[in-house]
């Protein structure tokens, strides 16, 4: 339980990855790392597909990442219309961890450039919901 609080609209409530939400509460965006083989995962997961271990630990995604690509949406699926327009993006952090999310609306459109430095920060949404977004680093 708890995962239904993730994002603007959530489609999943039960997952073993729900500690992700507890970390968001503390202002931390976390992935997981396998204690057996050292494989890092984002999005986080409780099972390692590499060595089949389920002995994982949570690791904070921090520091500067680089923007790989993005797109600004003019149309949205049901439940997201109120946020339009918004930009989705993929950002690469250290250890080849790639994080998918939205660009902060604080970043002006003309400033957005592939390769720019970004950081990821937790955002509290109305109705006790939590998400994260990318800001200028």
């Amino acid at each position: 339980m708890g995962f239904e609080r993730f994002g603007v609209v959530s489609f999943t409530s039960q997952t073993k990855a729900s500690p992700f939400i507890d970390f968001l509460e503390k202002g931390i965006i976390a992935g997981t790392q396998c204690k057996g083989c050292g494989m890092s995962y984002f999005p986080p997961r409780p099972d390692c597909a590499h060595c089949l271990s389920s002995n994982m630990e949570w690791k904070e995604v921090s520091g500067k990442g680089k923007l790989i690509s993005y797109s600004k949406l003019i149309y949205a699926p049901t439940g997201f219309e109120g946020d339009l327009p918004y930009s989705i993006a993929l950002v690469e952090f250290g250890n080849h961890m790639k994080v998918f999310g939205r660009l902060s609306k604080e970043i002006k459109e003309e400033e957005i450039a592939i390769g720019m430095d970004l950081k990821v920060e937790v955002v509290k949404l109305p109705n006790d919901r939590l998400t994260y977004e990318f800001k200028k680093a």
Partner: protein, 383 residues
């Protein structure tokens, strides 16, 4: 390797708002394929029904369609890889025939996208990505392909103008395809000045939803040689997958599932990209066709733009691509799309493509992608 052939093809017109049920839609494509092959229902040993299930009120449509098409008591089952469902159907039909389990297998792809309201459709659109980690940000198919477009532009210097040229080509051939949902010509200026959907993709960079059905009949060499039409042989099949999450991908400048599938299909057929005379690629968005040129080896990575700028993918060019208008003009009724692409190539290889005919092709290729590069399918056919 002439052991398994396509002996019959059929396709309905792709339309907006088909006025009938899914069983009647399926019947139209089925009838055309059966008449094309010269077979009767008794000669069909099994059927594979392909579509994306979230559009249908009917649970387990395979049973309903098998009854309506008169295919009882032969076995039927349902297969889904979203937009590439009927190419996956061809792969399974091939293996059923090659194994000797069946002699003749029917692959029927259909989609009545207008079966649900546009509000329901909007809701489903949001769930096409990973529902735990990406859908909660408000994702849409065009935006994902748009991210690939931007990454491609950045790395290779391709431009929105290059994508517009792809749309103009699609429209050129859409005007001569009587089964296309979009038969109007489109100018370069119209493409460039259209409303943005998800930057940098604009309205004409995106294919349209449609209702439609396609049908393929796959048979072993004995059945194939006993029929009156020239069989079209399945020479190579490649299938591969890539992560549905963007986080799981090494690159956004091409589709890894297509590259893998192409490699496998070329190896099985024992040919190279230069041997392909005509191709159908999955142009759900203009950038998808650009990446397909490169993923299939028709151009080196980054040089797809040169191919379209020189009109080498038109009829008469080095490698004609989507000369039936592609998904961009035909429309994209999810489960029916792969079968429609395969039908086009079969007609080309038989010399029956009429106004769209490429000169005397011997080898044809079909590239059909499910999801945003999740399921890759490449099928190579020959005379």
């Amino acid at each position: 390797m002439k052991e398994v052939a396509i002996v019959g093809v059929g396709q309905t017109a792709f339309v907006r708002g088909y006025e009938g049920s899914i069983r009647e839609l399926a019947f139209d494509a089925y009838k055309e394929a059966m008449l094309d092959a010269g077979l009767t229902a008794k000669q069909i040993d099994a059927s594979i029904i392909c579509s994306a299930p979230e559009y249908d009120k009917q649970r387990t449509p395979a049973g309903t369609l098998a009854e309506y098409l008169g295919l009882n008591p032969k076995p039927t089952f349902y297969l889904e890889t979203v937009c590439s469902s009927s190419s996956s159907g061809l792969r399974v039909a091939y293996s059923l025939v090659k194994s000797g389990l069946h002699k003749t297998v029917l692959v029927l792809g259909f989609q009545k996208m207008s079966e649900i309201s546009s509000a329901d459709s909007q809701e489903r659109m949001g769930r096409g990505s990973d529902v735990m980690w990406e859908a909660p940000f408000g994702t849409m198919m065009p935006a994902y392909y748009a991210m690939h477009a931007r990454a491609h532009f950045q790395r290779y210097g391709s431009k929105e103008e290059d994508l517009a040229l792809i749309r103009v080509k699609a429209a050129t051939y859409g005007t001569i395809n009587k089964k296309a949902v979009f038969q109007k010509g489109v100018t370069f200026e119209q493409v460039m000045t259209a409303d943005v959907i998800a930057s940098p993709l604009k309205r004409f960079d995106c294919c349209a939803n449609a209702d439609g059905a396609s049908c393929l009949i796959v048979a072993d060499k004995d059945v194939a040689r006993s029929l009156s039409k020239k069989p079209v042989w399945i020479l190579g099949l490649g299938a591969a997958t890539a992560p549905i999450t963007m986080s799981g991908r090494d690159s956004l400048t091409g589709l890894a599932c297509a590259q893998e599938a192409a490699k496998e299909a070329y190896r099985m057929a024992g040919i190279t990209p230069q041997d392909v005379d005509v191709a159908e690629v999955h142009d759900c968005f203009t950038i998808a066709e650009m990446m397909a040129y490169e993923d299939l080896g028709f151009a080196k990575p980054g040089e797809g733009k040169d191919l379209i700028q020189a009109k080498e993918t038109y009829i008469g060019g080095k490698i004609p691509v989507n000369v039936d208008g592609g998904l961009l003009s035909k429309g994209h009724p999810i489960g029916a799309t792969g079968g429609s692409q395969i039908r086009t190539v079969v007609l080309q290889l038989r010399g029956e493509a009429k106004e769209m005919q490429v000169k005397d092709p011997e080898v044809g290729l079909v590239h059909n992608i499910g999801g945003v590069g999740v399921y890759g399918n490449v099928s190579i056919l020959g005379r």
